[in-house]
Symmetry: C2
Amino acid sequence: MRMVIAQGGGPTAVINESLAAAVRRARALGAKTVLGARNGIRGLAEDRLVDLTALDAAALDAVAATACSALGSTRDKPDAAYLERVAATLDRRGLDAMLYIGGNDTARTLALLAASAAAAGRTLACVHVPKTIDNDLVDSDLSPGWPSAARFVANAFAGLDMDMWAMPGIYVGVVMGRHAGWLTAAAALWRRGADDGPHLVYVPERPFAADRFADDVRAVAARLGRCVVAVSEGIAGADGKPAVQALVEQAGGELECDAHGNVQLTTSALGEALRGHLLASGIIGRVRADTLGFVQRAYAECRSPVDVDAARRVGTAAAEAAAAGHSGAVTIRADGASLSTGLVPLDRVAGKKRLMPEEFLAAERADVAPAFLEYALPLVGPPPPLAHLDMAADGTVHVA
Amino acid sequence: MRMVIAQGGGPTAVINESLAAAVRRARALGAKTVLGARNGIRGLAEDRLVDLTALDAAALDAVAATACSALGSTRDKPDAAYLERVAATLDRRGLDAMLYIGGNDTARTLALLAASAAAAGRTLACVHVPKTIDNDLVDSDLSPGWPSAARFVANAFAGLDMDMWAMPGIYVGVVMGRHAGWLTAAAALWRRGADDGPHLVYVPERPFAADRFADDVRAVAARLGRCVVAVSEGIAGADGKPAVQALVEQAGGELECDAHGNVQLTTSALGEALRGHLLASGIIGRVRADTLGFVQRAYAECRSPVDVDAARRVGTAAAEAAAAGHSGAVTIRADGASLSTGLVPLDRVAGKKRLMPEEFLAAERADVAPAFLEYALPLVGPPPPLAHLDMAADGTVHVA
């Protein structure tokens, strides 16, 4: 086997565990060459490749432990001419296997490459290695990268809720997730008492109504003196219009759009619009909105042990599939924290999205359901210290 | 001794270490009563106190390990009538010592209380326990709470720089700090190579000029293909006008002000204004601005071991001072990671700010100087795994 491996899309805390595991397994299986492509498939189009065949084990371990794509990444969607440049590099280097670590867009790119190789009669095992903090890859129970990002979000909201408890106020935290609410839902993972926040969780799977939102916040704040809200960046109304667009239009403002006229979600606009809506709704007192932003996918020191295990397993399985000459998408199943991998056709994963199922969301409230916690808690690792100093009705103090 | 302890201002990751250490030491010194005031001095004004005299050691350890003020906090600045209500509670409970954990505003409140007790001929040892992520308490080499927040910011920017390296772009991260740049400066702590980000660091100690900023960013982006910027929320022009105000006015926008007409710094406005200014300056490509927000002071799982040590030492020293009947502000000195405490009059610390010294900032560039790194690195703990997969000119790969 002469293999190349690449990384696509956004980073995760464990993406390099998959890279290192695939390199280790390919070498153990006798691969003649193991190359890494710089910046995903773009490195193949531009012949920017690094030779990992003989990289020493300690260096590989150090790369594995580092957060964020060590080879660099891309979101390039290749057209026919681009694919020809890739094919030229594959031929020139004599490569017969490609592993591509990424999400559903990356899988689509790999499916295009596999189809073009097949049409040209080229022997090329194309294996997708799952990775995304969005947790939205189909045919898998988790997407490697999500448990660690989920842990970061859970840690963040546990602290934010204590912050708002200590000095009462209303806090709105915007979490990544354009289509699926998995990462936002993780904000609820370290809740223990009935009054712990986040008290409201808004995900894209449910239509968002601004007036209902303000009523929800008002009710929680009236009951507890504080309200902590977790919101997905991609929430939209029942009409499909992004919430940020509806809110900014309602407030008479203008919204930034990209070159294609699509509303920009990668700004702080949604958080500020939600904050403005609460203030305009007559909610008084401290109201803060933060957009967690890139730090939630790139933080250098927050890994779930199960996520590390998952990332290694999918890398190892991908190298084994490629060595056997198979193409496909590696999948991963979880029974609690016990993991196993599989391989499905690329088209089953490419471009598809797995949304949160109904049973993971509360029926009547903007919240997760207990089934989500049962699913997620085994995946994210043990909680951090979170002792509340509570006072009982009789004036005695106890720690919970 | 009959002691009450309270927490003021914003939270830190180690503020409860000071609380627990003070309680332990006061009990060991034979204190008859150790109470905790809910929500800082407000708990005294409203007689909301919890009895920590007999709280068991394991529960106290659990509280100590938890981030964010376990007793609750306040920013109340008491007037004469408020201080009378506090005095009434002190008398009713027979308290003769008060420890107040907080920053320079909290020290000022405590100084007011001490003066009013002295004027009334009441015996009350008033001891300030230093704490603030701003690192701006005078007569100390560090403020407990800052090393852990600094570690969070360093971890965040290390990942953000790798994120921007993997998929090139421009990133502006706004960090807490209205007057002092200590926390923003920490963004630079995990840099190793000359090209590592943050590439530009803007602190309130230096006047900010928007055009120079755009030129700086353009130059870095031209050289490296990316640019990572750390900015303090409190940066201001040479005329003292907040940068956010100048930028929003220049762009023809309107800025949110509080009830006193002061510009709101606790929104995402500065980051978005800096981003808008870069785009208006003709900088093209991906430009992202995030405001790190409350998570940087409240994250549940990022503590520096030296910070834990510092927080315990100041709590212990405060209990000892109070038991000896002394009032004052506990100070802390560092020789590398080796710490020692002292006690100075409250007025030396109350309301005063320690800015970054000239030698901690680069002379010509928007950056920290090596002396800052020498100061800070022993305080924040070991770096996380940060292995770069670099390619040498001869095509071989090496990990640094």
